[in-house]
Symmetry: C2
């Protein structure tokens, strides 16, 4: 038996300011090398930083010969004041004067398949994804996923702070919540199973247990379209809650969650925000507009007539967002009261107008990032609606049992992590907000 | 367009102490009813509480006739001081004197299939799982998953605080990290795909990007055994990091993470800890013991001879844990230097003894909850080892590419959320720590 000490390895959040004029040893990878007559610069990639290291050939006796981009190195040197303009670097008020470099693992490839040392990563989407483990090392790519990480964490922490409990529901399931199409099937021992398209039934079950629940987990959609808005696997941020006042409760919790996420991003991801040159919004007023009104506004404003459609076209989502920015000064639009015919069976119809549901989508900068709404909570209502839709009530019994025992009025939403990240970071394709995107043609890396 | 206000629905963490002698309205479900001559009690289930509500038949004019266990109700009343002994209730220093009850949704079943109103949930495992949406409503069951939720959150928050970045790796993959058996296959459009058995390759790739990464997500194992230690789908808490000093860095980060989780549990889950009557440990010293030594100690101590086995038998894990508690005063044992023959190809062999790996398992109260270790980081080492094992190097190229570009020494671990939860809560079967367990025979609910 041997006892280890508790002391080392715990922090990599280096406070460079406090290390000014002191010696440090940093383990990282070489992002970039600039060799000049007197010596040169290395940009060293660390977990949360890319720091400039200055090599004075005379003083340090270090040769550039063995150095290559992406090699893993241990650099020893002194932290000194500096003012660097390069937006890919952070921190920018200090740099390291190098006294020694120890190569831990040399890159084997003098020519990387994609040059990730430039300020802008210049390659097409396919190349970017084919060499994803390499292209993600670019600071601009890293920044996107630091932001995604912060969104994921703050969504959970905020909900936790207002009495929600995190749940982990199964992803291998026996039935599908959203209907038969678009679901991946797999053999499960001697039976057939499906990959969960959403945690819908499970989060409703868990409202009966905890009243307020949330989940952050992958969902799987076997959709056969390959657009800039779709992923076949993505992270769904879900919550479900007892409603005290109606489905507007959900909108209010989502607004508070988003504003907390935005505040946290501004607090902790300033280097990433600056590097990407993006603006983090704030929801200053909660704008809601009825689905039917959207059709009318868009028709009146643009002459485009979607009024006979029972869903919003992507083009119409863009148009109403433009309108909202112009007339309501809001990046966010909650479109409410979607037609019952386009919502799943568990949606609660509006008691005042059963053609409409107590539901909403949240549109942000031209795209839908959330679908939510109140659900039915009376057993007989489920049976009635499912029979009207020609559904097999019995096959849903393991879900429907909860409404026999007693369930409070409730509702919730699903927020696509990649869509929110893409919209915040100004990415044209949602796949760029997925570390390793999955689409019809892409299963690697 | 309609603007909503920001005000309501945000908190369900009620501070009952500050509401003493004031009127409240609570939406929840009836856990339990006790009718007596003068009136009686209702135990009302709220998101984080089960509170006692007192009905004085004379004063309130409320009848018990329409009331049933599990009905969703809105109760109005006054918060008053009280001292209640029932461990299923929280808070226990106050109760509510009811003035009105509004039934939001009545339970349809006067006789629930399982009685969840008693202090102890008295049913067999199959019944518990068949009626999971109901049996989870029992306070003892809720407590287990409040604890699991806290572990999940604190694991992430702690790692975040020391410079780790959360990643979300794909669960539909083209190859398998842990070897061919025990993997679920599925048709993916016109190809074959697999469900990820672990995020192993992806977290290694991401070390090259962020240096320190973690993930909390489901993993899938098509194992054909049905034991108290196995689940076919579970939540794996994973991290992977650059190593400065060797694989002991991983042990130190895990120890700090666990101690932070334990402290957070004591801080925020006191009612649940008391209700379950469990003790939350603390790692006061880091006990490591070599794999080969375990065989020797167990043989010397018990006469049981496992010395020709190149893995630890579950029985041997129990025996060394007993020994550790007795002789080393530790609930936790890090068993290090597992034989290379039993570790996956990416494990780093000990330079001093290539038969052994720089790896460890963490045993806690008799069971393995973590497998971790250092990984190889040199491309040629991978090729050599894989060829020796008769593996097809080419088919791993999308993973191996990272070692061509340059990778620092690194390693990490996977911690089973359900196993840790089960051990902390004293559950005999790991399935009881899964909300909706999946095994060979169970795919519902």
């Amino acid at each position: 038996m041997k006892e280890l000490d508790f002391s080392h390895s715990l922090s990599s959040l280096i406070d460079f300011d406090s290390l000014l004029n002191r010696q440090v040893t940093l383990t990282g990878q070489i992002q970039n090398i600039s060799e000049l007559a007197w010596g040169g610069f290395i940009h060293l990639r660390l977990p949360n930083y890319v720091i400039q290291c200055v090599i004075d050939r005379e003083k340090s006796k270090i040769s550039f010969d063995g150095l290559r981009n992406e090699s893993a190195v241990k650099i020893t040197g002194t932290v000194v004041t500096s003012t660097i303009k390069n937006p890919n670097l952070w921190p920018r008020n200090v740099e390291v004067q190098v006294s020694a470099i120890d190569i831990l693992a040399a890159s084997e490839t003098p020519e990387l398949p994609v040059d990730i040392s430039k300020k802008v990563l210049n390659c097409d989407l396919n190349t970017k994804f084919n060499y994803r483990p390499l292209t993600l090392r670019h600071p601009g790519q890293r920044a996107v996923f630091r932001i995604a990480s912060c969104i994921y964490n703050e969504f959970g922490n905020f909900l936790n702070s207002i009495g929600f409990t995190r749940i982990c529901s199964p992803k291998i399931v026996s039935g599908s919540a959203e209907g038969g199409a678009n679901v991946f099937k797999l053999p499960y021992f001697d039976r057939e199973a499906f990959l969960a398209q959403s945690p819908q039934f499970y989060k409703q079950m868990m409202v009966g247990v905890f009243g307020r629940v949330y989940e952050e987990a992958p969902v799987f959609r076997a959709e056969e379209h390959n657009t800039s808005r779709h992923l076949n696997e993505y992270i769904s941020l879900d919550f479900e809650m007892v409603l005290e006042n109606g489905f507007e409760d959900i909108i209010q919790v989502e607004t508070a969650a988003l504003n907390n996420i935005f505040a946290k991003l501004k607090e902790t991801c300033r280097p990433e925000i600056n590097l990407l040159g993006i603006e983090i919004p704030e929801i200053k007023k909660i704008v809601t507009v009825k689905f039917a009104e959207v059709h009318e506004i868009v028709f009146k404003e643009t002459g485009r007539d979607f009024r006979d459609q029972n869903d919003l076209d992507p083009e119409e989502e863009r148009l109403i967002c433009d309108y909202s920015q112009k007339h309501w000064s809001s990046d966010f639009v909650f479109v409410t009261h979607y037609p019952a015919s386009k919502r799943p069976f568990y949606a609660l119809n509006d008691p005042g107008n059963p053609e409409e549901t107590c539901s909403f989508d949240l549109l942000f900068r031209g795209i839908e990032i959330t679908t939510g709404g109140a659900r039915m909570h009376i057993y007989a209502d489920y049976v009635k609606k499912m029979e009207r839709r020609g559904m097999n009530v019995e096959s849903f019994e393991s879900f429907l049992q909860i409404f026999r025992y007693g369930m409070p009025p409730h509702g919730g939403l699903g927020l696509g992590l990649e869509r929110l990240t893409a919209q915040l970071c100004g990415l044209a394709n949602v796949k760029e907000a997925s570390l390793f995107p999955r689409d019809m043609h892409r299963l690697e890396p």
